[in-house]
Symmetry: C2
């Protein structure tokens, strides 16, 4: 990932919009730390790929891609806080609260959420079709089935695993494909279904990564779901079934891509991105669950 | 404040929009606790009063007033967290983290920020002039001179008191008057200046309240600024000068009201609201600073 990557350039430009002379210096540093360098940037790249395939000018989609990455990074900063995962490592470096303290980490998350809407609102002036992206993003992050709801299910005495994962992971993937479609003036429902399938794939990949990945691969501690007793599909299903389900979700996502000017290219991008980012059977040296009966069949 | 108060009805309606069947039940309860019953609701009432005076239909202004109150409540929930003020009492009841735990309090704040933009985005469909309110609200809450910046100045080794108060308090008052003007199609700059003066008055009132108020009057602990060594104009100036400056800021706000259909009524509302909400000399039984030299003249 180099500085000439257009998404990274757009993120730098977005960052420059949301801080300024009235931003306290430590807050600038902490917000920058939360955003750069990023991870795979899967969600914003997905949004750009959908918009491109469906025929939108890339300039119109960029602000929306930045907004999606801003709320994603906000959710990571808050999820890492001591009152949630208490994770001191993220993307191979200190997490925001570990480096800058808990109070600034809360404010970084708040500031990034606000920034996402700020960036969208500014871009709406030049690209009025983005106006409806504001509501789509709010729904994907909010208390009714968005990221906030997903994280809050961890605070309930019991939670439906599907609903938990759909809110915590699926909602933002659906927003990425839906907003990509909106920017291109394409039909939203079909593209949303692609996001739903990809969100399921991503969650399975995340669950598998927590079991079979290494801290070096993932840039964060592994084995956390067993420690925190969080729902994990790979623990529930066993590795083999979880890998099979991951592959089937990726195939389903590719099959759901609607006919559009760039559908072939999008499918290629999707399959190669998933192959690059998701864990594979080849990574498994020994089954970490071998002494443990699957929780359910 | 009864249920027939139109603002409370609008807030109940806004709350019903932002939660739903996919909101975890404890999150619903915690978000409701953060919003109801409210305090003076000064900021949204100010927005409604400006919009009304400048000639906007009240239905158009309501969503914006709700959004302003949502971000204000979000900031209170996060400010009360253990990593900031560690306040267990708010509006005479347990604060959100004291009642529901720290993790849910973080999520309530996040959810209320998102909700503010959600409510505005929905209302923009019926009232397109609200579109620019989204950017004004983001600026008032964000990292460059908004609430987030204001709180983050507490994390810096040194901070200019005026800049700190302007971001922490002034920005949202300016947003309230500016957005009220936008909804009415009125000139924003003049109304923003009314918000600036009122923000200064409110901060002085808050500083005085922390010194001369009682927990019963204010529904929260007092004497916190001395405990946390936070900048407090009443400590710096002494009570008498702080009261004089408060009165002069209120007068200035009233003088700055631009000529408009309802300017007289707005001025009356402003002066009576300030008289009702702000601390008065009559409350002072003994000067809490009498054994302490003023820090500056």
């Amino acid at each position: 990932m180099t500085r000439t990557d257009p998404l990274e350039t757009a993120l730098e430009r977005g960052f420059a919009q949301i801080i300024g002379p009235r931003t306290p210096p430590r807050l600038v540093a902490a917000m920058h730390h939360a955003l750069f360098p990023g991870g795979a940037r899967f969600r914003p790249r997905l949004l750009l790929a959908v918009a491109g395939a469906a025929g939108a000018p890339s300039a119109d989609a960029e602000a929306a891609a930045v907004a999606v990455e801003l709320v994603h990074c906000a959710s990571l900063v808050h999820d890492d806080l001591p009152c949630f995962d208490n994770a001191s490592i993220r993307r191979g470096r200190m997490s925001v609260h570990a480096k800058f303290g808990e109070s600034l980490a809360v404010l970084v998350g708040d500031g990034l959420i606000v920034a996402a809407f700020d960036v969208l609102a500014r871009a709406t002036v030049a690209c009025p079709t983005l106006a409806s992206a504001i509501g789509l993003l709010a729904a994907a992050v909010g208390a009714n089935g968005g990221l906030v709801a997903g994280q809050a299910w961890e605070d309930e005495p019991s939670a439906d695993v599907y609903r938990y994962h759909q809110a915590k992971t699926g909602a933002l993937f659906e927003a990425a494909t839906s907003i990509g479609a909106v920017v291109a003036g394409a039909e939203v429902t079909e593209w949303r279904a692609v996001g739903t399938a990809l969100g399921e794939a991503y969650q399975l990949a995340d669950d598998l990564g927590d079991l079979v990945g290494t801290p070096t691969d993932l840039g964060k501690p592994v084995g956390q779901d067993l420690i925190h007793a969080r729902p994990n599909a790979a623990i529930e299903l066993g590795l083999e079934r979880a890998f099979a389900r991951l592959e089937s979700a990726v195939t389903r996502a590719a099959d759901l891509v609607p006919a559009c000017p760039g559908d072939e290219g999008f499918r290629d991008w999707l399959l190669s991105s998933c192959a690059r980012v998701f864990p594979t059977r080849a990574q498994v040296r020994q089954d970490p669950l071998r002494d443990r009966a699957p929780l359910s069949a």
